[in-house]
Structure formats: structure tokens, C-alpha cells
Amino acid sequence: MLLYWKGCMSRYRTKSIVKSVEKILSYLNINYITLEDEGCCGSILYRTGQIKDAIKITEKNIEKLKSLRIKEIITSCPGCFRTMLKDYSNYYNIPFQVYHFSQFLLKFKEKLKLKELNATVTYHDPCHLGRHMGVYEEPREIIKLVPKLKFIEMKYNRNKALCCGYGGGVRSVYPEVAIEVSKNIVNEIDNNIDFIITSCPFCKYSLSSNRVNVLDISELIAMVLE
């Protein structure tokens, strides 16, 4: 069974990411389930040193996913992606595969019929997806599927990408710092960029606080589906 794990940020804050992912999944006629009682993946607990609680959540989640016979998980949140794939495996054998939505979507690129989009975009690499999980190219390949879309790399990209400032629990303890850090990225981009594309709800939330148009990769694709 395939599970779409939404992640807390998109369940509560960046809800249009969930809508977009689900729109794309049904467009592709993919059978999947979501969980009413999805809960927390434990990422924030791992990142903020609350390891005992994180491990408890990990155990609970693995048991639940096992009992539901989940074999594959896709998630639109790089935090959940890293945690469920990497952190969980540090403690347990995980009985399922985990993919970030961009990796999953690329496998179906032949089936995507996309409308033209006359715009110039750039891509911000989320830390959890890029540096921590090595997923740099899939989101770029997806962006390049959109006809007429002009793609420009940021000055600092891939493993040298700047950080949006919201990760690791910084946003909650030192919000002023988080906001200021996100400006580092916005200050570096070209004036003729219409959208910053990213593939993380935290990055989207953070960069959006700077009066720039930010789209998650799922939102971009959902927007141009035929």
C-alpha cells in the first residue's frame, strides 16, 4: 500500500501543498491512502535534542505503518523524508520505502501533460532534501518539464545553497534570526525572477515572508496540469 504522508507543516500551514500533491496523484490515477491521525514524524524532536521522545514516536509510527501494511511512503516534506528514512533507520529496520514527492513524481514524467508557463523561475535547495539526503537533481528535472518556463540557477545552489533559517527549531526559539536568515536568499536572487520554486513546506513558509512569490514543486506542477 502507498501512503501519502502530508507532514505537519502542510497539514496546518502550507495547506495548498497537500491539495496540489493530491491533485497530481489523482491526475496520475495513483492509488494511495492518507492518515486521519497522521501525527508527527518526530523530526523536530530529533533536531532539538529530545531524543527519548523522538524514539517513542518513531516506534509508534513504525508499528502503525506496519499494521497498515504500508510498503511505500511519499512525502512532500523533506524533514519527514529525512527523519523517516535516515533517523528511523538509525534505531530500527524500517519495513517501507520512503520517497520525497519530487523523486516519486519524476518516475511518472511521461504521463504528465503540462501547459505552457511563460515565467522565469529559480530553485531553492532545501537543506534536508539536498545536503542531508543528496536529492538535488530530481526537482530541477521536474521544473524543466514545464514548457516555456525559463529556469535560472541561484548563485548558491545544490550543496552550497543558503539556508532558509526555519530549520532545526530555530524559528520557534529565535524567530527574528530565522526571518533575517531567510533574507540572505531573497537578497541574492535576480529581479526578473517570477517565482522561487522549492520543495519544502518550511522553506516555502520562510521565503514567503519576504514578499516574493514562492511555489512548492507540487504547486507548480498542479498549476500547469492539462
Binding site: 496546518y12 529530545q50 539556508c163 526559539v173 534570526v177 536568515v181
Partner: protein
């Protein structure tokens, strides 16, 4: 107000301080472009930095043996070698050599900051003059360093002009060349009047007991050469087995530290100044110092070696590149640290000064991992930060917000508590 609230206020002060932000942002942009250029010009550094990683791994694993060899070789060359378990011991050794009411010139040494040496020596009636331009500026301003390579990174030229105007009693223009000239003139005779010169060292080769001091200004040459006594304070992690190993580190430090192919000066010091030109009779203290004292500092290093995760911090060659590259350091500068700065600095501050000192600061690291990617030794700072954070939480150092998030997750199944 708890420590997290206080730290938050300190961060906000840094964010809103236009002068400091200006200083850092100028330094970051010139560093980044210079390094990019030098790395493209010297592709061989890719190989050398990987060799250096191996050298450091091996050296840290054999640190006590290397320490013994280095100390024996220094003594054999008529130097004096000391081992200090902690800052108190190190300060006492140095005070015993110097005594009271002396004039001391210093070149930049993070290790001396670590043991708060200047304050201690001045309490005993000595006058200490920092001669590295950046250190000199912040010493005059009664501030603390905010970057390990560029300690006055947060002070823009306009502020330096104000400080120097006060020093020499006339109006000074904020022109960088003019400011440098003033420092040169003011410090020139201090080197020769000084009773003692104190330096750090960037590397030590155990097989000859040779100290390497890498610099651009030429002040460390004066400090280590003009006064009759030279004291070097150095962390035990700086020792590598051979001269050949040391040269590898010398090759990667300047490009990564300041974006230059090689520093203006690399001093190699193996013994006090000596001659046997008259009747083959060996006499010490010709033009250089008569005495060389090398103080090896432990101060938590031998403890951290035992920790399989944090041990990696000792591989750091202190180029400081990761600080300029850190998205958070760019915003909060020197408040991201205690006596060492940035992500790696949090780890260093924790084992040299106590983890309670960085208990609130550690939460400003986003664990983004950019430092690891840009570190010549690929040191995994985010991994160490997460590990140290977990230790702090075990000791009860957790912010109200993180605790609230935890409670929300447990009770309401989401971090927002909605």
C-alpha cells in the same frame, strides 16, 4: 527571563546593529570571491585537503605519543616545553615565566583567548599589547573577538577611525590605508621595548618540535623575534607527526582562511636564537629570543578525544572559512558562539569552557550543513551539534518553546497544538 530569552535579546541587538552587519557583510563578500578565485587557480588543493583530513585523524588518535615526542624535541633544541592540564595551570606557567610589571606584545592566538590570558596577566601588573591589527582594534575598543581569523570583522572602517582618533588624539579619516599606517606607527617600537612576546601556533611538527606560525601582517615575526623571551601557547591538537604533514596544513590554511594562495609569512621556529660562530661555542639569544617556551594546552581536549562523535571537532585546523559561509553567522556574527564561533565554535566552546556556556546559543544553529560542505576537512558539524544538543536536553537545558512543541506533539499529535 531565562537564558534563552536573554540570548534572543542579544541576537536581536546584533541583527539591528547596522555597523556590525556592514562589517560582516563586507568581509563575507570579499572572502567568498577571493576563495572562489584561489580554489579555481589551485585545483591541487582538492587532493591536499583530503590528505590533511587523514593526517588529522591519525594525529588525534596518537595525540599523547605525539605530545611526548614534540616536547622531547623542543627540550633537545634548548627550548622549554610545558604541559598544562587546564587554563589555570597554563596561566600559572606563563605567569611564572613572565613575572610582574612587564611589557608584553602578542600576536593573535585563539588559545590565549580560550584561557583568558590577557586579563590574567594584566591583573598581575603586566601590560599586554595585541599587535594583530584586528586584535589591536578590539583591544582598544574593549571588545571581544567575533571571528577567529578576523577578530574585528564586525567593526567597519568608520568605527575604526573613531577608535584610532581617540588613541592618537587627532581626527583620523575612515580610509583603510591611513588606518593601517597609524597602527604601524603606533606599534613599531613596542615590539622592541617588550620584555616578552606571546604567540600561538597553527601547526607543530612533532619530529623536530617545530612551531609554524602563519600570518600576513608580519607582526607575529616581530613578536616571536624581537623580545628576549618568546612564549608560544598552543593546543595539543595542533601537533602532527612530521614536517611534511605540517607543510600540507600550511598549504590549505591560507586559501581557506583568507582566500589567498599562500600567506605573506610562515615562520618556522625550532629553538631559541643561537650562534656558534666564535670558537664554535654555542651561545643563545643572538638577534632573536634567548628563551623559547612552548606551553601545550589540554583544557578538555583529552576528554573530547574519548567521545567518538565530538572527537571530530579536534580535526578543525581553524581556518574560520565556515563562519563566513554560515547563513546564521552572517546575521548574528559574534553572538553565535562563546570564545569560539559558528557551529564548530559551539562545540569548541562547550569542551573548553563548559557546555552550559553555549546552552542557549546552540539553538540558533539550523543544522543546515553548509559548513560541512565548505569545510576543507568536511567536518560534520550538524551531527555534532545535534549530539551535543541532546546532551544538553538531558541536563535540563531546553527552551520553553521546544518543550511546548514537545508537549503539543505528545498531547495533540502536532507541534502547533491546534
Amino acid at each position: 527571563m531565562d537564558i534563552f530569552d536573554l540570548k534572543r535579546e542579544e541576537f536581536i541587538k546584533w541583527i539591528n546593529d547596522e555597523n556590525r552587519r556592514k562589517g560582516i557583510s563586507r568581509a563575507v563578500s570579499s572572502y567568498v570571491s577571493a576563495k572562489e578565485y584561489v580554489l579555481s587557480k589551485m585545483p591541487e588543493l582538492e587532493k591536499i585537503r583530503k590528505e590533511v583530513r587523514k593526517i588529522k585523524e591519525k594525529s588525534i588518535d596518537n595525540i599523547f605519543e605525539l605530545l611526548k615526542i614534540a616536547m622531547e624535541n623542543i627540550e633537545e633544541s634548548h627550548g622549554n616545553a610545558y604541559f598544562a592540564k587546564n587554563s589555570i595551570e597554563a596561566r600559572k606557567i606563563i605567569l611564572d615565566i613572565i613575572g610582574e610589571n612587564k611589557l608584553i606584545v602578542k600576536s593573535k592566538s585563539l588559545t590565549s583567548e580560550e584561557i583568558e590570558l590577557n586579563e590574567f596577566l594584566e591583573e598581575h601588573g603586566n601590560k599586554v599589547i595585541e599587535t594583530d591589527l584586528g586584535e589591536f582594534i578590539i583591544q582598544l575598543r574593549k571588545e571581544k573577538p567575533t571571528h577567529i581569523i578576523n577578530p574585528s570583522v564586525h567593526v567597519p572602517r568608520e568605527e575604526v577611525a573613531k577608535t584610532f582618533s581617540k588613541l592618537i588624539g587627532r581626527e583620523v579619516k575612515p580610509e583603510i590605508k591611513e588606518l593601517v599606517k597609524i597602527a604601524r606607527e603606533y606599534l613599531r617600537d613596542k615590539f622592541f621595548k617588550a620584555d616578552v612576546g606571546i604567540t600561538g601556533a597553527n601547526v607543530i611538527a612533532a619530529n623536530t618540535g617545530t612551531l609554524f606560525i602563519i600570518e600576513n601582517e608580519g607582526n607575529a615575526r616581530f613578536v616571536s623575534n624581537a623580545p628576549p623571551i618568546h612564549i608560544c601557547i598552543v593546543g595539543i591538537e595542533k601537533i602532527v607527526p612530521t614536517l611534511e604533514d605540517a607543510f600540507k596544513i600550511v598549504q590549505i590554511l591560507p586559501p581557506y582562511a583568507t582566500g589567498i594562495p599562500m600567506s605573506a609569512y610562515v615562520s618556522m621556529i625550532t629553538s631559541p636564537s643561537r650562534t656558534a660562530d666564535i670558537e664554535k661555542t654555542l651561545v643563545y639569544g643572538v638577534h632573536g629570543p634567548k628563551e623559547l617556551h612552548v606551553v601545550f594546552l589540554d583544557n578538555g581536549r583529552s576528554e573530547v578525544i574519548k567521545d567518538p562523535i565530538l572527537k571530530e571537532a579536534l580535526y578543525c585546523i581553524k581556518c574560520g572559512g565556515c563562519m563566513y559561509e554560515c547563513p546564521v553567522y552572517r546575521v548574528v556574527g559574534g553572538s553565535f558562539g562563546y570564545n569560539y564561533f559558528g557551529g564548530i565554535g559551539i562545540i569548541w566552546s562547550a569542551f573548553t569552557s563548559g557546555m552550559e556556556k553555549i546552552a542557549a546559543t546552540i539553538d540558533v544553529c539550523t543544522k543546515c550543513g553548509r559548513c560541512k560542505e565548505l569545510c576543507p576537512l568536511e567536518i560534520d558539524v550538524p551531527k555534532m551539534i545535534e549530539y551535543l544538543k541532546a546532551k544538553l536536553v538531558e541536563k535540563g537545558y531546553i527552551s520553553k518553546r521546544h518543550k511546548e512543541i514537545r508537549d503539543n506533539i505528545i498531547n495533540k499529535n502536532n507541534p502547533f497544538g491546534e
